[in-house]
């Protein structure tokens, strides 16, 4: 199981800015190891976000996203105390969900 994500959600006005730092290798499948063998691709493909259980955002990522990906977006109408949950799924089928409270 992958390491937990770091999620910060801060309310400002009528929306909340969500910053997520995920822990993932994000291998492109183009690199070669010391023995000249291609390192198999391993990256996050799908990211979804929910606000109090309601899906608000989803994204599809390619191998071009950097290692330990960062993501920032803003949820309209989110206020302090609301729950923001982020889920990612990688191309090996591994998945992880973490939740944060808007402050």
């Amino acid at each position: 199981m992958a390491d937990p994500m770091r999620i910060r959600a801060q309310a400002a006005g009528d929306k909340a800015t969500v910053r997520v730092l995920m822990s993932h290798e994000m291998e492109t499948g183009q690199r070669k190891d010391a023995a000249g063998k291609t390192v198999p691709a391993w990256f996050i493909q799908e990211v979804t976000a929910t606000h109090n259980g309601k899906p608000v955002m989803s994204a599809e990522w390619g191998p071009g996203v950097s290692k330990n990906p960062f993501l920032q977006f803003a949820v309209k109408g989110a206020k302090a105390g609301d729950k923001i949950a982020i889920t990612w799924k990688d191309n090996k089928g591994d998945t992880r969900t973490d939740e944060a409270t808007v402050s």
Partner: protein, 151 residues
Amino acid sequence: MQTRRKTIQHSMVVASLLATAGFPQFANAAFNKVGFDAKSIQDAVKAYGGGNISESKDVTVTAPDIAENGAVVPLGASTNLTGVKHMLVLVEKNPSALIAMFHVSDAVDANFLTRAKMGQSSDVYAVAIMADGKALFAKKEVKVTLGGCGG
């Protein structure tokens, strides 16, 4: 001793393995393979139902002028327009141009920031695909200096 029949059987197995494992990273069905296989900006936009791309000042791409480390380049895409369906972040000269695609809903701002890898200096595109299929883009050149050898 290896017979001719065995040799042929073996080579057929290898061939079929190669055929199916060509792009193992795209084995997931829910994932839009076409979009991430696309080599050009226009092909990637088409994969998400966008038409011909046109430049627009309503779309903003956030990127540094010079990226010292090509492995971590902060890239963002944003727009103030309403009726945006998808936001795309693309790097023109990467092996697969499409970096990330965001589904925009009413509940979020069409304003996303992430970090990407860049193999070399290239134009970076932010594309907004509208509900009516129009595709608007903004671009910016980012110079990548790897190991201090200059862009």
